[in-house]
Symmetry: C2
């Protein structure tokens, strides 16, 4: 990487955004425009059919260039927000051309030679990247892991049992469009009282195996071994890797709900040591990237409608298990497009840039 | 009670429905019209302002009479679907007049002299009713307890950790109206992407502390000690009482979702003995009142949109915990107005009638 200030005069390192026109890419451009500007050129890369489009970043119009080897010339850090197979093919190409890749797909997350990084939890991990690739966790894991990392540092985490309430934008634009279309068909009706009446009325299910409007769907991702879904296994495997606890007990049940953006999770967290709500409050209040929102008597608990569009992980409904003085129950919300995806990749890129400049 | 066939010739016992015009009462009249007709007179009772209205049950129009002492004259079994304070006042009056009361409010559920009955789980408990009152469990408990009772009978239940996805009809007509009005205001918009945009657009929150359309709300019922809600404590206390396990470890987090009718729950159930998915399938397939719907490869798992309007508890996504050979993960759906309320009271009434006739 060209250190900031070297070569290009006063200009910072060159950043590439691969998948700039997608749902996460769009949020990423907005986040890059809001954060401290440490970058020289920001190059926008997308599929050839999007090449030539102009997008705004940092208040300037930038023309999208087509994905290809030459697109990575001179790039210091490349953020990939593209499907798994595109990352699998092109991230190594970008790395071979000298870029550090921060990849938001599932292609490399469990590769032992690729660190899986959440800057508030394991920032040191960015330094050990033999493939020049750093992976960004799945949005469901990211929606809770910052809060869990802070509690783990104090109490020692022993087990997580989580249930998710996942937003449709986790399925991309197709998910959002499907929910809005189905809601349009159901608005003004009195459906939702007879078996299958919603299914018949909505017709097209989009990317989901059941209607998502006026419904919840206990299936996200693809089916893996023993009845688990890919999404549920990601929460387990990625939590273990990020926290550096390869034996951590983690059980997830992932459920899609009719919310546009912001994933919520209920968490049963068992620690090695006794916990109190007061201690947990103190830790969460002090934790970077976490907002404690826990005064239910005053109506204060996080909900997706209030959290969407914000950066932190919001935590509320903190209770100590009545059966186990070492366990806490929590309700956690995080914007799946921001901290759950674009924001975390931007933060990792900033870590890499800071380290190279140091 | 007048035994069937005695006194009134061939006529069965007299049944009263108190709260006949409410959300649960309406479903109850439909259920009474569908089930085997064992009743003589079915008397409909409601508040004085509803007196004189005519409702249809068993294909016949019946005039609603006003709640009062005389309304219970000659009643053998009285089903109460009214608010807690109305039950607290009037159930003892009906009992004193000779009726066996089956009460769906929260007024008597934890009274040690009142059995809390789920006919598939603890039918014997109806016999021990010193106050002549039998309580019907809360809809959230009822949505999973039939399946849990069947698994407990085989494996011995040690702990339940549940998260709910509760439908708005659990809050009565006001809940349903609120969801439909909010959805009407949001249809055709692109809201749900900025903090508070939904809250500003929907205006009236109805019975909820936050918007319920395009949102999930981690608060149901009222606030009790140590941050728990009344709904969460009901799941704990009632599960223990129904299963006859006063020390059972039970933790619930109750969340309202934008579904009209049918509660869903994720359940982490730990047993005293090792379990397998195959054994659990066998038990659930054979359990009365349970439908096993668990072939995710074929898209088979329960969702509220498919379960609503049906009687059984539907169970899917059965997995054995990867960390504990004694624990199962399940996703359970039950119509909160049918098995969760009206159906279970009708079943209890039938048990009482059968026992008296025997």
């Amino acid at each position: 990487m060209t250190p900031a200030g070297a070569g290009g005069g006063d200009r910072g390192p060159t950043l590439a955004v691969v998948g700039a026109t997608g749902a996460v890419g769009t949020v990423l451009l907005s986040i890059l425009s809001e954060r401290k500007d440490i970058w020289g050129e920001i190059r926008l890369i997308a599929s050839p059919r999007s090449a030539g489009r102009k997008l705004t970043v940092r208040g300037e119009e930038v023309e999208v260039v087509a994905l290809g080897e030459a697109a990575f010339d001179g790039v210091d850090v490349a953020l990939f927000d593209v499907p798994d197979e595109v990352s699998a093919q092109w991230a190594p190409v970008a790395a071979a051309r000298g870029a550090v890749v921060v990849d938001n797909s599932g292609a490399f997350r469990m590769d032992p030679d690729v660190p899986l990084v959440v800057p508030e939890v394991n920032p040191h991990a960015v330094r050990n990247r033999p493939r020049s690739i750093i992976a960004n966790p799945n949005c469901t894991t990211l929606s809770m892991i910052v809060a869990m990392g802070a509690l783990h540092a104090e109490f020692g985490l022993g087990e997580l049992i989580v249930s998710s309430y996942q937003a449709v934008s986790g399925s991309g634009k197709e998910g959002v469009d499907t929910l809005r279309e189905q809601l349009g068909k159901l608005a003004g009706t009195e459906l939702g009282t007879q078996p299958g009446d919603i299914r018949r009325a909505v017709g097209d299910l989009g990317p989901y195996p059941a209607p998502i409007a006026l419904n919840v769907v206990p299936f996200a991702g693809s089916l893996k071994e023993d009845g688990w879904t890919s999404e549920e296994l990601k929460v387990r495997d990625e939590s273990r890797k990020i926290l550096g606890l390869p034996e951590l007990r983690v059980t997830a049940t992932c459920v899609r709900v009719p919310v546009v953006t912001t994933h919520s999770l209920t968490v049963h967290a068992r620690f090695e040591n006794e916990v109190t709500v007061a201690q947990a409050h103190e830790i969460l209040r002090a934790a970077p990237g976490v907002v404690l929102c826990d005064d239910p008597a005053a109506g204060d608990f996080p909900t997706p409608a209030d959290v969407v569009g914000t950066d932190p992980t919001w935590v509320g409904r903190v209770r100590r298990s009545m059966d186990d003085p070492c366990a806490l129950e929590l309700f956690v919300c995080g914007d799946n497009l921001r901290k759950g995806a674009a924001l975390n990749t931007a933060q990792i890129a900033e870590l890499v840039a800071a380290e190279s400049a140091a």
